[in-house]
């Protein structure tokens, strides 16, 4: 394929750039072009999508990107991933993201934004995220976690009255003999490290950036 190296790099750069600027249509087009040029799907994921989305996360931390930009980038990433995943699996390989995370806000609690931000930051850092929204019954966390075979369950609670649901979720997992199968991370304004320790959670993040570090640590990913 002599001489195609430059073209390959160019195509991958286009994918990374489209994700990074949060242009979903351009991302899909760039990914299709890359596939048509016989670039391996794994390579498109590892060398273009993930670095592109990571750059978006970096800019958020620096205060140059904000929630709307992150949501757009995550949407573009998700759409591209939808094309790549079947191709990768069809090759008999496993998709190498950092892991799959289920996020949601507990029942009785309608606070959505903090949890959404955590979800977006996780996907911008290379995790696959399933967002159940807010006011999620505990049994649904469990059902969806099993159904989607996730690695981590991220439970948000923004009220001191609903944070007890984080404890109840862990108890429910124990009861269903599923506690060992999933890591549980907790967050939300009233939640602290001590609370996380007391209820036996596997991790706690004070903010969305910390939540990503905690998830990476739990999955054995180096920062």
């Amino acid at each position: 394929m002599g001489g195609s190296d430059g073209k390959e790099k160019e195509l991958l750069r286009e994918v990374a750039k489209s994700v990074f600027i949060g242009d979903k249509d351009a991302t899909l087009k760039a990914v299709r072009r890359a596939i048509d040029s016989n670039i391996r799907p794994e390579e498109i994921l590892d060398k273009a999508l993930i670095p592109g989305i990571r750059k978006a996360g970096d800019l958020y931390e620096k205060g140059q990107y904000f929630l709307p930009e992150l949501i757009m980038c995550a949407d573009a990433m998700k759409a591209a991933f939808g094309i790549l995943r079947p191709l990768i699996e069809q090759n008999g390989e496993k998709v190498r993201t950092h892991g799959r995370v289920l996020v949601g806000t507990v029942e009785g609690d309608i606070h959505d934004i903090g949890k959404t931000l955590v979800g977006v930051m996780l996907s911008t850092s290379g995790f696959e995220v399933i967002d159940l929204g807010a006011d999620v019954p505990l049994h649904r966390f469990v059902e969806e976690a099993v159904k989607n075979d996730v690695n981590i369950i991220g439970v948000s609670a923004l009220l001191t009255t609903t944070m007890v649901k984080q404890k109840e979720l862990i108890e429910l997992l124990v009861k269903e003999n599923l506690r060992e199968r999933f890591k549980v991370i907790v967050g939300g304004a009233p939640v602290t490290q001590k609370w996380a320790d007391d209820i036996g959670a596997d991790g706690y993040g004070q903010n969305a950036v910390e939540a990503v570090s905690v998830a990476k640590k739990l999955m054995g990913v180096e920062e």
């Binding site: 931390e61 205060g63 904000f66 959505d112 001191t160 304004a189």
Partner: protein
Amino acid sequence: MTDLREKINQEGLIFDGAMGTMLMEKGLEQGKPPEIFNLENPEAVKSVHESYISAGAEVITTNTFGGTALKLSKTELKGKQEEVNKVAVEIAREAAGGKVFVAGDIGPTGEMLKPFGLLDFEKAVDIFAEQASYLDEAGVDLFIIETIFDINEMLAAIKGVRTVSDKLLLATMTFEKKPTGFFTIMGNSVPDCMEKALDEGADAVGANCSIGSDTMIELARLIRKSVTSPVIIQPNAGVPEVKDGNIFYPESVDFFCDNIVKIKSLGVEIVGGCCGTNPAYTRCIAERIRGRS
């Protein structure tokens, strides 16, 4: 009572402090909407207003922060927006007794506007207009829109209020401090928010909530530089911490009060307290600014 606009221009205005945390001390269960006390325990709401008035507040804020139909629809008060808002104003007016002003409080709907959420701009305008109409009919002296983090939601709220009333309207937003400066979580800059809110019809603009009184000094300076209209600043008593399962706000009365005096000296007309403050904070502000004892 003197004319409100004149008073703001001549000597400024002192707002009250937090309502929700005060109601919790009076038995409001956490997780319940504070507005439920307008119907179930109006005496408690009235006594909070009275304690702020006796501490020196010149404006009291109705217990209607979560009083849009959309926000209430997710609580047991679903469908009761007219009653919740009107009763709240009656309670406040009774407590005020014509001696202090009553501000009709409007907070976020709790949903994000399109394209990031599901809420249409025009639908949001209608929702805010509905709440404002109840507050207006029940006789508030002015409006305050608070704790908004998306300039588009703020513009919808101002537009909504302006479709039903010409009364004085204060518009305050919530910012975070980033390495690049102060922005809302949606990335709206301070001057942009202030200018747009004034253009849409707000009479005074500023910031509330989210950051403590010390960081607020820096933000207040930036806002003051951005506009020629009156400015309103209402910080939290610090960033909330949790101790033994209870939320508390770390700033002492003196620390908070010193910072309010500094904010006032920047040329900010209207000051008050947000989350975590109580009448002791208001008393200290009134004493320091008005020289009362």
